[in-house]
Amino acid sequence: MGKEALFRGEGLTKSFFGNTVLNDVSFEINHGEVFGLVGENGAGKSTLTKIITGVYSADKGKMWFGDEEAVINNVRDAKEMGVGVVFQELSLCVNLTVAENIFVDEMATSRLGILKRKKLYARAQELLNRFNVDIRPDEQVGKLTMGNRQIIEILKALVINPRLLILDEPTSSLGESEIQRLFELIREIRKKGFSVIYISHHLNEIFEITDRVMILRDGKTVGIHESGSLTIDELVRLMINEDIQEFFGDHEARFAEKDVIYEVRELTREKFFSNISFKLHKGEILGLAGIIGSGKLDLCKALFGIGKYDSGEILYHGKKMKFDSTSEALDNGIVFLPESRKTEGLFLRDSVQNNIITNILKKVSTRSFIRKQKIENVVDEYMNKVNIKARSRTQRVTFLSGGNQQKVLLSKCLATKPNILFAIDPTRGIDVGSKAEIHRILNQIAGEGVSIILISSEIEELMALSDRIIVLNEGRVGEIINQEKFDGHDIRLSMHKVALNE
């Protein structure tokens, strides 16, 4: 690379209670480089981040900024050395303006402590201009889209002029087009000479935005590569020990044309979706693609009885149906795996077993009293089938890793023995291993005859699992694509078509 490195980590090691979570990790980050960091959950990514940002201090090893040794013992040290960080969860005050959020640490005040609003807005405008961001500084953050909020979050970290900016899963709440805008900002940041550490589970993002990528596995560096020199299969293989050959693999079509289990006819909800018609076959995985605001989520909610529709009809087993509540849908063998496991899916403070039995209380009881033995049988069955790694049936879900939480959520849905499963982003923000397992299970249950309507923010995932993909744009069915015609580029294009035309 020739030029001298901006930042160097040398032999960084960290243990907790004799358990080494980061083992002799060394790397260099160049000036103006976007440095990717990938690995499964527990590989050491977050420990490494926390060492660089001063949340933890390393047991062994040194860090350098150029020639100068960086002694980082706490968060303040890290800030002073020029490390900026944006964590996964957004931390903005929605009731305040863009400018007030960006300068939350150092408000422009007069000597008497009075807020100087004009100066604040001027400084914010300057920053927004510098990175070509078209957002007004006096706009209230609550009115911004998630994508713009993420951008403001990053600008907030740039206020201290960090030499090294760490972005931890910055796209987890963003849609496809918003991710592109975020990348524009990152490129802008790189152009200004800042270096970025970019952490993501979305490997396609790693390829798109990073210059080099470091792969961690079990706390050790497995390799540092030029991002362009790897294929996605190679990268995945480096991250996990076993080869997951079917990660993006093909599969046979699983359904027979005549086995229509569910049909939607001209379903319309004004301003959300209109004239949606499609058929779902027994054992089919039907993907729904669309950008945020395309109506795909509203459609699924309406079909499940949690959202509304104005007109149109639903045929289920050939009979006309309308669900007014979620319990009706569930009673009819339709189950919904919501997109956010923490807020809509799980009872975090409750145990693994109580989460799994939520939908099947009747099945685990006799004469309306719950039976412990029945619970244990069901829970054991699913802990094995879905391979949930928990200490016991009674461990609280909040203590599980994201991947295992998602598996609990999936078990909860499967325990109802559904005919139809709505799966909304079933692998959101989880590690590659768990993801592969969830893919395996979805394929398996489809093989057993369960029909699945799948939404995923990752087009590759949608293509890997689906038999057909319906592309929605602006609330309408854009096209229905059969498996043999799947092409990531075409699908993306189709998702954006209407927006591009206008």
Binding site: T326, S327, A329, G345, D350, N354, T358, F399
Partner: protein, 322 residues
């Protein structure tokens, strides 16, 4: 990771021992009081403690259910007086005790129904709704009784509260029966299990097909009816319904439930724990009487206990979320 497993286990011990802890505190307090006062450990005093606890324990049934579901009800004190007064007025006008009691209970349940509708359907928060209801109902009680009460209730009614069976007063017996029934139902029945899910995560409960709104309304109706029942029993016990009955009751009952393991965040609580909480509160009052400390201190002490219980609850939850 290892560290997590360790903290998890020690935390778990704290949870499972929440009820045993308070049980031990009660035993220790009892032993201390036995030494301090010669009047503590005799049958009459112990029955008096249970008697005092019986009304609040009955109110605690509904409150526990609400706290488990993530709600609470500040209007129980007013409803307590309201049901008593409604029953009293009907009796004074010559209605038979059976129907007077039934209508009194329905009146209490009706207030709960209104609370439930406003909270679940209109989505006003429980604090504001039940605070307003507390004031409205108390006002109605004052209007109905011109600020006084209904006295000289007929003996055919008073018998409900003044009879002894095997030397034990009826309110105690009613309380024990209800606590046992609801205790078992809360713990083992499918129906009440759903409240733990609602309190744990309302959105997730909705996606799981639980009829959240309907169940919440039922919980508020239960709270209204149990408060009403306690109020009616009190009226029968005293032979009259006071307009000021149940003042401050909501504070004492919520405190008792939280000491007993309910969480203001919802999703936790047992009938047995709440009952022990009530016993502890009554024991504190009894200690004041026996030791001759000014009863004016009682309200302050109750406030302290509530604050301590809530702080403990908050710390416990924070440690769990770490």
């Amino acid at each position: 990771m290892k560290e997590k497993a360790v903290t998890n286990r020690s935390l778990k011990n704290i949870f499972s021992s929440q009820e045993s802890t308070i049980f031990l505190v009660i035993i220790a307090g009892g032993i201390a009081l036995t030494f301090i006062s010669p009047y503590f450990l005799n049958k009459d005093n112990l029955l008096a403690i249970l008697m005092a606890a019986s009304f609040e324990s009955i109110v605690a049934i509904g409150m526990t259910l609400l706290l488990i579901s993530g709600g609470f009800d500040l209007s129980v004190g007013s409803v307590f007086a309201f049901s008593g007064v409604v029953t009293g007025v009907l009796l004074a006008n010559g209605l038979g005790p059976f129907w007077a009691v039934i209508i009194g209970l329905v009146a209490g349940g009706g207030v709960g129904y209104i609370n439930g509708i406003i909270i679940s359907k209109v989505k006003v928060n429980p604090l504001i709704t039940t605070l307003a209801m507390m004031s409205i109902i108390r006002g109605i009680v004052f209007v109905m009784t011109r600020g006084l009460g209904v006295s000289n209730l007929p003996d055919t009614f008073n018998v409900i509260g003044q009879t002894k069976i095997l030397g034990v007063q009826t309110p105690i017996i009613i309380m024990v029966i209800l606590i046992v029934i609801f205790g078992l139902l809360f713990k083992y029945s499918v129906f009440f299990r759903q409240y733990f899910y609602i309190g744990g995560n309302e959105d997730a409960a909705l996606y799981s097909g639980i009829k959240v709104d309907r169940l919440k309304i039922i919980a508020y109706v239960t709270a209204g009816m149990t408060a009403g029942l306690a109020g009616i029993l009190t009226a029968a016990r005293m032979g009259g319904a006071l307009s000021t009955a149940g003042t401050g009751l909501e504070l004492r009952v919520i405190t008792a439930c939280i000491i007993g393991g309910c969480s203001l965040a919802g999703g936790e609580g047992t009938m047995w724990g709440s009952f022990l909480g009530v016993i502890l509160m009554v024991l504190v009052a009894n200690a004041f009487n026996l030791t001759g400390v000014s009863p004016y201190w009682q309200r302050a002490i109750y406030g302290f206990i509530l604050l301590a219980a809530v702080l403990f609850d908050a710390v416990r939850r924070r440690r769990m979320e770490e």
